[in-house]
Amino acid sequence: MGEKQKRVFFGAIGIFVFLCIWYVATALTALGTVMPDPITVFTGFFTAFVEPIGTHSMTMHILISLRRMLVPYIAGGVLGVLVGILMGWYRVADAILMPYIQMIRPIPPIAWIPLSIVWFGFSEGSKYFLIFLACFFTIALTTYNGVHSVDETLVRAARMLGAKDNQLFTSIVLPTTVPYIFSGLQVALGSAWATIVAAEMIRSSEGVGWLIISGQETGDMTQIMVGIVAIALTGLLITSIMRGVESKLCAWTVRGK
């Protein structure tokens, strides 16, 4: 069995054991009174693809949440990379922007909910704003670190081969920074997706976060668990896609390992 197959095999065994423990615990202990067993949850999850919860099927809930996440994630990604490069390349930009970034970054996105409602109302804008905050700073800082990690020997080597400043930037600084950007994008993707529940707490009637909030309001534990499973599986899917893209674009960092 190859390394990859082994990884998948043991991963599957781990999940299976977890589901068994979950099942046994809900069947034989008091946990069963406050939590549905995995068969009920997964049946509810798959049924939701054909029978709508609220006004939408599971596919639509997932797609709506993905759109809510992707729009600000892409905006945060583009802006984060630009600001990170700007701060990494120009000392003045670093001096001006870094204090703001270091001050705002530790504030959890959820703390911005009241202000986001005041600024953007109950529209999609407030949700976008929260998710944007969840990814922008991570991406900006990892990009900044990438620019600063440029190996001086490689810069000298490129200079000696005749590279001018703009060529140094495109042929040395950017490629060095790409793995850092991807690492930031990967972490930010997780944060953005995790923030979806908080964002959908601001009045909504659809989305995977809404499934949880609505389940809480109606005391429907299965729906809450279905929402959690939807978030977990979609999160796994999008981070795997991102990892696939990274392994193609940063083959040089992955192949040797």
């Binding site: 080597a157 200079r159 000696m160 040089w252 192949r255 040797g256």
Partner: protein, 248 residues
Amino acid sequence: MENKQPKVKVQNLTKKFGDLLVLDNLNFEVKEGEFLCIVGPTGCGKTTFLNSLTRLYEPTAGEILVNGIPVDPKKQNISYIFQEYSSFPWLTVEQNIRFGLEIKKTPKAEADANVEEMLDVVGLTKFRNYYPSQLSISMLQRVAIARAFATKPELLLMDEPYGQLDIDLRFKLEDELIKLWKKTGTTVLFITHNIEEAVYLSQKIMVLTNKPTSVKTVLDNPLPLPRDVVSEEFVKLRNKVTDLIRWW
């Protein structure tokens, strides 16, 4: 040999770091196509010397002329092989060798031909699509050498490129270097602390003094190629250079 023009002319080269005088009024010439090894006591400022020569460090005073005009790597075709491994990790072997040609906007057909030739000479044709992280130390240095020669540089500067290699590998790469130098006729300035290496490779050996560094002497190396490191003449010349460097 005697008719050749000076490729590099260094006049009154001085470099200070604050009050510390490192290079003290260096004057010398290197002829077109010459292989000059530069040796000196440890810490005498050999790397500073090469970095000043290429303006990676701005000299405090003096002038460095290549083909009669002030040296400038952006305008002149100069290559530099560093002590540290300097392959670009995100580029394959082939892309690394092509790098300088693309920077200099060499026409594609010519660039392709140069890359193929270099891959062949350093024996990396089969590894053209490998990334540096997949290569051994000797292969990495071969990539650096191929990249440096691919642009057909008029001047090649080498700063202890084989300093971290074991003796077998070093001799192998030194032989490859001589082959490439003879084939291309490039002018080479090779810095080393290894006197045997200097005698093995060079046509001339420049001996530097302790800091503040100046040129102690320049010796001719008339031994025919390929050289035998245990021959009487080789050992005699090696001992002569050792005596010149000895400061104890």
